[in-house]
Subunit: 242 residues, 2 copies
Amino acid sequence: MRQKLNIAFDADDTLWHSENHYHAAQDAFTHIVAPYGPGAEQALAALHEIEINNLASFGYGIKGFVLSMIEAAVKLSGGALRAVEVQAIIDLGRAMTIHEIILLPGAREAVLRLAEDHPILLITKGDLMDQQRKIRESGLAEYFSAVEIVPDKTPAIYETLLARHAIAPERFLMIGNSLRSDIMPALALGGYAVYVPYELSWAHEAAVELPTAVDGRYHEIASLADLPELVTRLEQNLPESR
Amino acid sequence: MRQKLNIAFDADDTLWHSENHYHAAQDAFTHIVAPYGPGAEQALAALHEIEINNLASFGYGIKGFVLSMIEAAVKLSGGALRAVEVQAIIDLGRAMTIHEIILLPGAREAVLRLAEDHPILLITKGDLMDQQRKIRESGLAEYFSAVEIVPDKTPAIYETLLARHAIAPERFLMIGNSLRSDIMPALALGGYAVYVPYELSWAHEAAVELPTAVDGRYHEIASLADLPELVTRLEQNLPESR
């Protein structure tokens, strides 16, 4: 009998567009603060610094992003930011919570095909309510055997999830667009990882190096359309169960 | 053999103080907006209205609360709010994410005692990262067989949780300080509920009526110190398993 992998998908920018909404909001942010002097590049650098500093307090997701935009705008304006501009930033965030969910190419087909003969997990971080809304509106919720919304995607958190779902790390395959959050932790635990780059990435991603020496456990594909075939190939090469 | 209940605790204001931090932040908020004219009562009414309107976009927890305070302050100031005041509101929120966890009277003893011979769930809503921080720092994490952080506490969400943990509703006991989020949903599903009022409550709670006609499934206690004895009594009266 063919050996099976336990498959888990990241959500934002793996199954559906997300970062484009952050980029659009950031672009609007640079226009809001432009009258106070900073160019777009300086404004984004200041925002990025504040975002990273705020991760420990406010975590991932839209709400923390909005709070960081407000703080960055206060700072970049030298304290001259007007209330109407603060409200405009909050409204950018509110709009992000209702954007239409647009699936990435091949996402629906890959999930449906793999769900036929695999239990599939969804593992995502961000604001609880926002993530649940997106999963609901994606039309894919019914194909996942479980959905895990986590505060961060560290190796320790993956380890907890694998234990909870009784998944052996050497049978685990994580699919995602983030080297830091999806690929590196899965490889570190001894699992498989399929990297599907998204057209945009968050500045926080930039510092990660590609993994090496992982014995065929790391793969990169251009689109989820290529995933089912890759999974079949990986499963043909799995050792027999003990 | 004695029949057992499946016990679940709410977290904020049931096991540890939380609402007092919201109240303190609200109090500071009324002082920030006071120079623009509104009295404390008017300021809190405006904040409450915006909080309720924002629940659908931003959900529960500190980050949504901070965004609502900022929006309320912008509105109450007639658009004259200064950037330094916006920053002060964000700093109130950041302070809330690091406050010391102070357990409520009897909480530790009740959890330890019941955990000896029951699997115990923790069911809480709010910001993921914030809730996980509090659970970690409470010193009680190891006593829970599972922790569920949910975007809202509706009967449908409780139903999903009970199914996931294979708990029969008529063997489910929910303990909490919120009639709306803890008590009513548990009773609606046919389970037991123990109401432990907290000294403060969020204005959103005020409109709920006490349940009636629930055949001994609803109980109120003044402190968790009274819980273990109540659980013993309830379990003595449980019908035999089928």
